[in-house]
Structure formats: C-alpha cells, structure tokens
C-alpha cells in the first residue's frame, strides 16, 4: 500500500475520527491543552458552536443530544470540574455524548501547558452514588483514530455520556504519521424508537438500555428527567421502580462498556509493565529496551479504564512483579486497582511535571 506520511498531532486525528464516526455537533469552550481539538473541530464538524462557559457547553450538548444529535466536547480539568453536575444529569437522563478530557498539571489551574495523568480517580467517583461512568483512554496516535468511534458507539448503544481520557502531550505533540495504516471508520447510526407506544423513555424491555426517541418527536411525547424517576420519566421519591431504574444505569455500563487493551506477553516473563495514556509510550520503549538486553518482560496497556475490566486482574495475577507507570504522584491507576493498600509485588513509577522516562520503568523492572 502507498504510504501517506504527514506531520500531525493527535487532536487532528481525534477530530477527523469523531466526524467520520458520525458525531455531528462540537460544542467548545477554549482551554489549554484541549483548544487544538476545538480549533480543528470548528473547521471540520458539521456544526461547531462556541459556548460561553463549560456548564453551558454541557447543557447545550444535553439539549442537542435530547433532540437527536450526537455531540462532542473537549476540555481539561478546570472546565471539566464545571461540567460535573451536568454530566451527572446526562447520565441520569441517559443522553449519549462524548467528553474528551485532556489532562494537564493540577491542582486547580496548575500549569496549563504541562501534561499530567491526574484525573483518573476523579472520574472513578464522578457519578454521585458510585455509579460507573465509561472511560476509555488513548495510548498512542493510532488510538486517536481508533477510540473515538468506539466511544461514540458506546455512548449511543448505552445511552450515556462517555469520557475519552487523554493528556497534553498525547494530543498536542506533532509526529510523523502514516495515514495509510488507518482503517476505515464505520459511522455510528442512531436508531430511534418506532414502536406502537406509548413510549416509555426509561423502559429497557428485556435489555438494559431503553430505546431512544428525541424530544420534540411527532411520534410520541418524551419525558427526560435528571431526578429519580420511574420508567415513564416521572419524578419519584424512592419507589421500587425508580430505584431499579437508577440501579440499571450502573448495570448497563458495567455490562456493556467495551473492553479494550493491548497485551503483549512474553514467554518466560515474570514481570508485567502496566500503563495507560501518555506513559504508554515510555512503557513500550522500556519493554523494547529490556527485551533487547535479553530481559523477558510483558506489557499491558489499558484502554478501557472504567469500569475496570476484570481481565486486568487475571493478567496481573499471572506475574510475580507488576510495574505500574503513570504521570502522577499517587499511582492513581494502582489505587483504582488495589485501593490504598498496594500489594508489595506491585511497584509504582510516577512523575509530576514531566513525562515518566523509559529508564525509570526499566530500572523498576530490574530492581532487586
């Protein structure tokens, strides 16, 4: 196949991928390091809207999603923090949308132009009540192309907001890239309810996800509700039907979130390197270096972060040492997997304000 080598950044791949996957509205509010996505989207999306703030952005998205559009936004922690209540609303109303969270160095406004992987634990507790929010994570440039369609499809098929996690260096660094390696993207098609009615917007039938009908439909009236509600969408206190409905929100995400990861196991390896997001690159490089030195080592790069896929534990259990590398001080993914009591065979490699280096990962693999 002919190569098509270009110099580009991940933001551009993400935007093109979203558009090809059928996302039709981008709602943006500028924030470094997500602004590149906004600027590409404003030139490429069928519709791009500049919002006056991030709360409005998420509310417009909810309104547009309710009206049958498939909206996307990108932000970083300070903007994301403003969106949290509205993301909970969209989760409760069961409105599909994609939120791209580009991590930067915190706390607070931190350093806008420095990368970080500091928001994973925030995402784990984002939905009040502890319900899981689907979070997928980009681990290289190719993922910038492959993951948006998966995330958008998951949003539509589960009727839920989905977060695509990334970080500054992942979407802003330019790199040589061969476009000819990218597979075609199958657009996500939203199927709308056309049953005999009456339409009950939160009646999942035999499944976990109710069929979707946009508000304003001529077919039947639609009731959306951010408060505890029954299958018809009507406000309830804590009726059995309503509580079952709320429980279902978590169950569908647990059951239906796609499980994506990269696993490269080497025969004879006793150590597994685990990483995600920007540190995946350093992890790959470290594994390459170690193998070149004749040290067998395996590699797990997590793309589905939440809900945590059970397979990660199965893989981890096969190794006597596991090195988890991520660009934060706490070992957030390690905490997500093991809580605050990290088993002694789990080694953490972290960095703050700079990228984790391959040598640091390799050193931990080789350490006595």
């Amino acid at each position: 196949m002919d190569t098509h080598r270009v110099l580009l950044d991940g933001s551009r791949l993400v935007v093109e991928s979203c558009v090809r996957a059928g996302a039709n509205v981008y709602v943006g509010y500028p924030i470094t390091p997500a602004s590149l996505i906004f600027s590409y989207a404003s030139r490429r999306f069928p519709i791009a809207l500049p919002a006056p703030d991030e709360i409005t952005a998420l509310q417009w998205m909810a309104g547009l999603s309710a009206a049958g559009y498939l909206p996307v936004t990108a932000t970083s922690f300070p903007g994301f923090a403003l969106m949290v209540e509205s993301i909970n609303m969209a989760y409760m109303m069961e409105l599909p949308m994609l939120i791209i969270l580009v991590q930067r160095l915190g706390p607070s406004t931190g350093t806008a132009t420095a990368g970080a992987q500091g928001d994973l634990l925030l995402l784990d507790g984002l939905i009040s009540g502890g319900y899981p929010l689907p979070v997928l994570c980009i681990s290289d440039l190719k993922d910038c192309w492959l993951l948006p369609p998966v995330a958008l499809r998951a949003a539509v098929e589960m009727r839920t907001p989905v977060v695509l996690l990334s970080s500054k260096e992942m979407v802003m660094t330019q790199a040589s890239f061969d476009l000819s390696q990218l597979p075609e993207i199958e657009p996500v098609r939203q199927a709308f309810y056309h049953g005999p009615g009456p339409y009950r917007p939160y009646d999942p039938g035999d499944g976990l996800v109710p069929p979707f009908l946009p508000v304003g439909s001529d077919h039947d009236v639609v009731r959306l509700n951010a408060s505890t509600h029954d299958r018809s969408g009507l406000l309830q206190h804590t009726s059995e039907e309503a509580m079952a409905n709320t429980r279902r929100l978590g169950e569908k995400v647990e059951a239906l979130t796609p499980v994506l990861y990269h696993l490269d196991e080497q025969e004879g390896a006793r150590t597994l390197v685990v990483s995600y997001d920007i540190t995946s690159g350093a992890a790959r490089e470290a594994v390459k270096m170690l193998r070149a030195q004749g040290v067998p080592v395996s590699l797990l790069l997590a793309r589905t972060l939440l809900p945590v896929p059970a397979i990660y534990y199965e893989v981890i259990d096969r190794y006597s040492r596991v090195v988890i590398a991520e660009e934060n001080a706490q070992g957030q993914f390690a905490r997500l997997l093991f809580g605050r009591r990290i088993p002694p065979n789990i080694r953490l490699v972290g960095a703050v304000g700079r990228m984790v280096r391959p040598e640091e990962i390799a050193r931990e693999v080789l350490a006595p």
Binding site: W60, Q174, R223
Partner: protein, 426 residues
C-alpha cells in the same frame, strides 16, 4: 380537561400563583392550536418544576438554574414550529442568569416563564437576586437589604425579542400566547407571592402594591424581528463534515536520505515571535523527507506573544514511542529568552553540543559549546531557521537542502533571505 394536561389537579399549595401560570400556559397553547407533541416543557428546580407529570407534552426536568441552557440546546436543534417553554423560578433565574442572557443574545426560539415569587419556596424561603429591598424572608427577617435585578430589562438589553412582566393572578394567557408565537427569545416574568413563605414573612402584603413600591414595572417590551439562532432550517437538511479532511493533508515524500542510525534529540529555544516553532516544524518535515520518524513539541508561556519559545524535536530511524527529551544531543539557543528558559538543562548537560548565538553570555555546561552569529547573519526573524541550517551543515544529520526544501509550502517560502542560506565557505 385540556389535551395538554394529564390531570387537572396541580401539585401546588392552595393560593400559589403557579396555578395561574399553568392554566394560562394551557390556554395560550390551545389558542395557538399546536399539538402536545409540538411542545417541549423544560422545567427547572423549584415547586414549579414538579409539574411535569401534569403536562401531556414532552417534558424535560433538569438541574437548578440550567434549564434555559438545556432548552436552548433543544430549541436550536429543532426545526421551526416546535414550542420550547421553560419554567424557572427566581432562584433558578439567579443561578442561571448568564444562560438567560446568552439565550436572549443569540435569540434562540424559546419562551422562558419566570415564576418570580421573590424567594426560594421549595427550601423554606431564602432570598434570591430577584428579592426586592425590604422584602422579608426566612433568613432576612428584617427585610432584604439589597435591590433586585430588573430581569426584564437585563434580558431586553441582551437582545430578547419579547419581554413582559405580569402579575401572577387571574388569566394572563394572552401575554403567554404572544410570547410563544413570536419566533425568537421571549421571557415572561410572572410576579407571585409564595403563600407558604412570602405571605408568612410579609403578612398583609398585597402583590400589586409590592410591585409598585419596589419598582417592579408591569408591561410588555418587544423589538423588531431579528435572526433566530437555529442550527438547521429543517430536520431533513443533511449534516456532513465540512472543510478539508485529514486525507487532504499533503504527504511528505521521501526525497533525501540521512545517515542517522538511532535517535537524535534537539532543543531549539529563542524568543516568541521569532519563528522558533515554525523552524522546528520545518526541521521535522525535512527529517521526514529524509525518511526518518520525527516528533516535535512546543512549549511557551501562556502569553504566546512574549517571552521564550522552545521546541523539542526528535529524529529517529525507528518509530518513536517515547517523545520526552531527557538528555538532548543538541541545544540551540538564539536569544536571551531562550537561554534563560534552558539554563537549567544546559548546566546539567554532560554531553552533546550547545550552539549559542554570539550575542549571549556563555553558560556553564558539560556540553561542547559552539558560538555562531545567528542573529547577526540572518536577523532576529530568521535566526532560528538559520541556526538549524547551520546545525545540519555542521553535523550532517540531514542534508541542509532538505531544510530549504521543507520551507517550500510554508508562508516563509517567498520571504526567507535565501542568499544568507548558502553553504559555508562559498
């Protein structure tokens, strides 16, 4: 019973003005002659917001203060002919004031009905920004010390098509009908007294007298039609990608070769506005044209136009997984801003080469130092590109012509002083 209602019994306290709002809304809708499926009622948080189940229309019950923003999303996405109505209280209007002003500015096609009973009814009677001076509430028993926002005036100034303030007694369906029939943003502020808290804390107070005393002027304010903010004229209008796609990016063809075996990392640092990022990108393209893998990143202060500008470029024979630069092979400094930005790294360098503009003091470093007159030779604007050209001359990492070739296709193509980029010694 009206086709717009599912049950006539409303969930409000006896005597609450909210009853009149619902009855007048229903009457207005009947007068307009739409069907329930043409109406989307978006409710906020507050006593008024529990009315969803009474309406046979589409209903959306969202967050406190955010109903107008969500309704704006719905309304801008729907084709003309649908009636999007927001029910919001004075508390919701206080939290969501910006959403209301923004929707008015955009002239989104919706009708906002503000149930202004001048306090938060659902939570026990606290003051909002629409509570008038002197009005007593649960937490201002001596009367609110501050004047209220004139919401109608604010919204009108923001660009609303139709604004009205009415007393929430009896039948005001005619005003609501006008508001709903106008295409564009309409807001009707309905003054009410909460029988549970407003009357309790202000016994004997008459709504009409209160409105007069506190300057809550009744009336209707309209402006001549202006464009309505809508995403599409009709639902049939196709939604396709716009502009140039990714595949329209011109490919970089391999026309040169490089002797580089492994990985080579360069830092270029100078002043903002002196083409540092552009020069680094040109180097990256030149390396691609020599068949190498590259990464390039920029760093600069948030005030993009002043201070330092630093670029990191990695060239590699094999794919680059990790694009951090810990120990650079080459550091190129073209100005004092760049030197200051990189001084820590330069001090730590134990190997590699430091190219330094002749105007700068020589810092302490373990790197080999090469002093060159970049600025004097090429001028501030082209010092960075010229410096990279020199580096290629001196190292042979890439053929220098690859760099000049890569300038083609950039805005610099017709501008760079080519005569300055001649092989050394010629």
């Amino acid at each position: 019973m009206s086709i717009f209602l599912t049950q006539p019994e409303l969930p409000f306290c006896k005597g609450c003005g909210h009853h009149h709002v619902v009855r007048s809304t229903v009457k207005a809708l009947e007068a307009i002659g739409v069907r329930p499926a043409d109406v989307i009622l978006v409710t906020d948080i507050g006593c008024h917001g529990i009315v969803d189940g009474n309406f046979a229309t589409h209903t959306v019950h969202g967050l406190h203060g955010r109903s107008v923003a969500m309704a704006a999303g719905i309304a801008m996405g729907l084709p003309p002919g649908k009636k999007v109505i927001v029910y919001i209280g004075d508390g919701g209007a206080t939290i969501g004031l910006q959403h209301i002003l923004e929707a008015a500015r955009m002239n989104v096609d919706l009708t906002v009905v503000v149930h202004n009973n001048m306090l938060y009814g659902m939570t026990g009677g606290q003051p909002s920004s629409l509570t008038p001076r002197g009005f007593r509430t649960a937490i201002t028993p001596d009367g609110s010390p501050l004047p209220h926002h004139d919401l109608c005036r604010l919204v009108y100034e923001a660009g609303a098509s139709y604004v009205a303030r009415v007393l929430g007694v009896g039948d005001f369906s005619e005003v609501l009908r006008q508001a709903m029939e106008i295409e564009g943003f309409a807001l009707v502020e309905v003054l009410e007294l909460c029988t549970s808290y407003g009357v309790k804390w202000n016994p004997g107070l008459r709504l009409k007298a209160l409105a007069e005393e506190t300057g809550y002027t009744l009336g209707v304010w309209t402006r001549s039609p202006r464009p309505v903010f809508r995403l599409r004229a009709g639902a049939e209008e196709p939604l396709g990608p716009r502009g140039a796609g990714l595949l329209d990016l011109p490919p970089v063809e391999v026309r040169f070769s490089s002797l580089l075996e492994g990985r080579w990392a360069l830092i270029l640092s100078g002043s903002a506005g002196e083409g540092v990022q552009q020069a680094a990108e040109i180097l990256a393209r030149a390396a691609m044209a020599a068949g190498l893998h590259v990464t390039k990143k920029g760093s600069y202060p948030v005030t993009v136009g002043v201070g330092f500008s630093t670029a990191e470029v990695i060239l590699s024979r094999s794919p680059i997984f990790y694009h951090g630069v810990h120990e650079p092979d080459a550091v190129v400094i073209t100005s004092m801003d760049g030197l200051r930005n990189q001084q820590g790294r330069i001090r730590e360098m134990q190997r590699g080469i430091l190219w330094l503009d002749a105007s700068l003091p020589v810092p302490e470093t373990g790197a080999e130092v090469r002093i060159r007159d970049f600025r004097g030779h090429a001028g501030a604007r082209y010092a960075a590109l010229y410096a990279l050209w020199m580096v290629l001359q001196e190292t042979g990492i890439l053929p220098p012509e690859a760099l000049l070739e890569a300038v083609q296709g950039t805005p610099l193509a017709d501008r760079i002083p080519r005569e300055r980029f001649a092989p050394r010694g010629s």
